[in-house]
């Protein structure tokens, strides 16, 4: 045995921090080195774009803030209070933004990453591990905030001719704010994980994040349609300036920077030192409490989710002589593997919040826009009273068909997610299907049903509701139901074929299920199909109407032409992709 022990060295905190950072850098470098050339070029281009953005924001802020200080503008309003509140607003936004955005990253880094046990069992001080994790967690968001905040504050300094000390102190204060925000965020993580399992928290966070980012992405469109008044906008801006209050410690730092730069040394230094001291105190306190909580383990109670036991219902037994319900009879006619797959996918989609967010966002999207379309149509109708004769009739018919369009649109967003991701969502569990005696056509049929049936139900439901609310005719509703059923059939076939072609089972994050190229191609093909399909379904009825023929004739013609296109698109892409279904999942 080796008994001559190795010399025990005193391990310093900062040396360990440097070591751990070096490890992170090495991992980053190796990732970059092993990336494909296309990705490397992408990184370089991204870097250049970021630098250009930095420069642009800086130039814009400099110009805008210099303009605010111009004497010609000063005669209309006093810009000083606004200029004084700029650093406060930026620092407060950075702090609040970092507390929330670091939460998810810290949750991942402290509880869900697999390296924590390895790092804590290594001979490095625990505090070094925490410091590295905290900095690692805030770094991406901190960089993003710096990207926007730093050029504005530097622009402010240059436009006002502040001394060099201002430009040195700005990043120092940013760093202090970021570290204290990360510290608080880590405590928040520990507290929440004490109550809820970490994985569940991550799922809920991903769900909320997806909904939030979706709403943000649509905010421009929504605000355009909501017609905010000038007073509402002014009130919102006013509420922002309320952050500049003497009770806000971040205001001490913001005002301190300006006071110091404008020669009020004592006041400025006091404000800055006070806020720096407070930030350091928060960081130190959070660090030591978080360490203790983590080490004592009371925060590590549950990593996974544990669903409470449900009372198990005995399997329904059909009594001899008793007639089974028609639905049960119908489900028995479906092949068992197809039935099993549909039930399994329904359970998995319903229970996994990451999937739910991807399903709910298109529905919200559909609902919001259908309300807007609906309102827009009503305005259009009321404004079209003066349009005479034939055109008025065609327009009103077009608006009748708009109901069908809305229903199709709502279902459309849902089917594209369900069909395109149908195969990829199996993930690493695909081996279960691959090693079972499941015929490829049954697998395709199951995946088709999973995408088609909910879309059809939702599309029809919308159509019924809109027809009832707008008192549409039964004839148009029946035509609409046909359009929704047949058009969706083609769209599902098309998207499912792309889903097979781009199937990816090696994802960890649900957002990476689909390869970018396939999603892009699928979106282009779907859009082209949508235009062709709409033209085929609605063209004949409008044409017949224009020629003065009976509406029913045009609708039947539309259903025949559009239906044929829909069915061809449902069958041909799947027929083409069929040989590949047998091979997917094989490397």
């Amino acid at each position: 045995m080796i008994t001559a022990s190795l010399p025990v060295r005193q391990v310093s905190l900062w040396r360990s921090v440097v070591k751990l950072f070096r490890l992170r850098l090495l991992l980053f470098y190796m990732n970059f080195k092993r990336a494909k050339t296309r990705r490397k070029v992408g990184y370089v281009v991204l870097g250049i774009v970021i630098l250009a953005a930095l420069g642009g924001i800086f130039a814009l802020s400099w110009g805008a803030l210099a303009l605010l200080r111009s004497p010609s503008l000063a005669q209309y309003f006093d810009p000083i209070p606004l200029l004084r509140s700029v650093p406060v607003l930026i620092l407060t936004s950075a702090f609040v933004g970092l507390v929330f955005t670091s939460f998810g990253v810290l949750l991942q880094a402290l509880y869900l990453a697999n390296d924590m046990d390895f790092l804590l069992s290594a001979p490095v001080p625990m505090r070094a591990v925490f410091i590295t994790k905290l900095v690692q967690a805030i770094l991406p968001n901190f960089s993003l905030i710096l990207l926007f905040g730093l050029p504005v504050l530097y622009g402010l300094g240059l436009s006002a001719g502040y001394p060099l000390a201002y430009f040195i102190l700005v990043p120092v204060i940013f760093l202090a704010v970021a570290l204290s925000a990360a510290g608080l965020s880590s405590l928040l993580v520990m507290g929440i994980v004490r109550i809820f399992p970490a994985r569940r928290v991550a799922e809920v966070l991903a769900f909320l994040g997806a909904i939030f980012s979706f709403l943000c992405s649509q905010s421009g469109q929504l605000s355009n349609r909501m017609n905010f008044s000038e007073t509402q906008v002014a009130n919102a801006a006013q509420s922002l300036t309320q952050l500049d209050s003497p009770w806000n410690p971040l205001a001490w730092a913001g005002h301190g920077l300006i006071d110091l730069s404008e020669g009020r040394w004592l006041l400025g230094l006091g404000g800055i030192l006070l806020s720096l001291g407070l930030a350091s105190g928060i960081f130190y306190l959070a660090l030591s409490v978080a360490e203790r909580l983590y080490y004592t383990g009371w925060a590590r109670i549950q990593i996974g989710t544990r669903r409470r036991k449900a009372v198990r219902q005995p399997a329904a037994v059909v009594q001899p002589g008793r007639k089974a319900a028609p639905l049960a009879w119908l489900t028995r006619q479906i092949p068992a593997p197809v039935r099993g797959l549909v039930v399994k996918d329904w359970l998995v989609l319903r229970r996994d919040l990451r999937n739910m967010s991807q399903l709910i966002t298109p529905l919200i999207f559909g609902l919001i826009y259908s309300v807007f379309l609906f309102r827009g149509n009503e305005r259009g109708l009321s404004g079209s009273r003066e349009i005479p004769g034939q055109f008025g009739m065609v327009l009103s018919n077009l608006l009748v068909y708009a109901n069908v369009g809305i229903s199709l649109f709502v279902g459309w967003t849902l089917q594209s997610r369900l069909a395109l991701m149908g195969f990829s969502q199996e993930g690493k569990s695909y081996w279960l299907l691959k090693t079972s005696p499941l015929k490829p056509w049954r697998l395709l049929l199951a995946k088709y049903s999973i995408a088609y049936l909910p879309t059809l139900i939702i599309g029809w439901l919308f159509l019924w509701i809109i027809t009832i609310v707008r008192q549409g005719s039964l004839e148009t509703m029946l035509f609409g139901m046909g359009v929704v059923a047949l058009s969706t059939a083609g769209a599902v076939g098309l998207n499912l074929a792309f889903g097979v072609a781009g199937a990816n089972f090696k994802w960890e994050d649900a957002r990476q299920m689909m390869r970018g190229t396939t999603s892009c191609l699928a979106a282009i093909a779907s859009m082209a199909y949508l235009f062709i399909s709409l033209a085929a379904f609605f063209g004949p009825p409008i044409l017949v109407e224009l020629l003065g023929g009976p509406a029913i004739l045009g609708q039947i013609a539309g259903l025949v032409v559009g239906g044929l296109i829909g069915l061809l698109c449902a069958i041909i892409p799947l027929r083409v992709i069929y040989p590949r279904v047998e091979k997917i999942g094989e490397e």
Partner: protein
């Protein structure tokens, strides 16, 4: 054993290449009915690749596998109906409970529903999962997930059972249970193909052992036949190390003493 004339797994000149790298190189063997065949080899030798080709998860570059008389590539449905498989990493649907998963597997194999329900309860009881049967799989430990995967492999009472490291992560009671199940299945005429790193399991349980090294099957036979190959080495560990070139490690450990 009276079954030992029926070949249930026949690997013929199996080759699997990944670019220039040959993961499995001209591997041929036969596993007969009623036999437990142990598949040994160092890490990265090609065990899992071979197993994945047997169960139809990987397409061989050349050569082929017949399972229960059916070609895995051209008659996959028939071959897969006869096979049960449990991988080394379970990777099950995390958002299903064990009961739901087993019911789903029953439907994939198109089994009678009432029979499946009965079998599910038997298997859950056998693997000590009855209590946790309605909990979601993502709340299970690795061992519990491994047992669920084994239950799924056994659900349709397969004639051929292919197991990749079946005892990894299992407690001694469960490991013993697996051994007993495998012996019973072999006695009933099933063919068991298992890969393991635990040489004691292979030595005690397997009727024949195959050793794969750098993609080549370097030895196949009963313990006696392997002993004859191993130039007088008595234990499987010594034979294994001699065949796969691990004897130099003994010298290193001597230095460390």
């Amino acid at each position: 054993m009276e079954y030992q004339s029926i070949p249930l797994i026949e690997a013929q000149h199996l080759v699997k290449r990944y670019g220039d790298k040959v993961a499995v190189n001209d591997v041929s063997f036969t596993v007969y009915s009623g036999e437990i065949f142990g598949f040994l080899g160092p890490n990265g030798a090609g065990k899992t690749t071979t197993i994945r080709m047997i169960v139809g998860l990987l397409q061989p570059t050349s050569g082929g596998v017949r399972v229960a008389g059916f070609d895995v590539q051209s008659q996959p449905i028939q071959a897969k109906t006869a096979t049960g498989y449990a991988p080394d990493e379970p990777n099950l649907y995390a958002k299903l409970s064990a009961r739901e998963l087993l019911r789903f597997v029953g439907e994939l194999y198109d089994l009678d529903r009432q029979q499946v329900n009965r079998r599910i309860e038997e298997l859950l009881r056998l693997f000590d999962l009855s209590e946790a049967g309605d909990d979601l799989i993502d709340s299970y430990s690795h061992g519990m997930q491994q047992k669920t995967a084994l239950a799924a492999a056994l659900l349709h009472d397969p004639r051929i059972l292919v197991l990749d490291e079946p005892t990894v992560g299992l407690d001694p009671k469960s490991a013993r249970l697996i051994k007993d199940i495998l012996r019973q299945m072999a006695a009933r005429g099933s063919a068991i193909f298992l890969s393991t790193h635990i040489l004691e399991i292979a030595e005690r349980m397997c009727d024949r052992i195959g050793i794969i090294h750098q993609g080549r099957l370097v030895a196949v036979g009963t313990m006696e036949e392997l002993r004859a190959l191993g130039k007088g080495q008595a234990s499987l560990e010594d034979i294994f190390l001699q065949i796969t070139g691990g004897t130099e490690y003994a010298e290193i450990t001597e230095v460390l003493k």
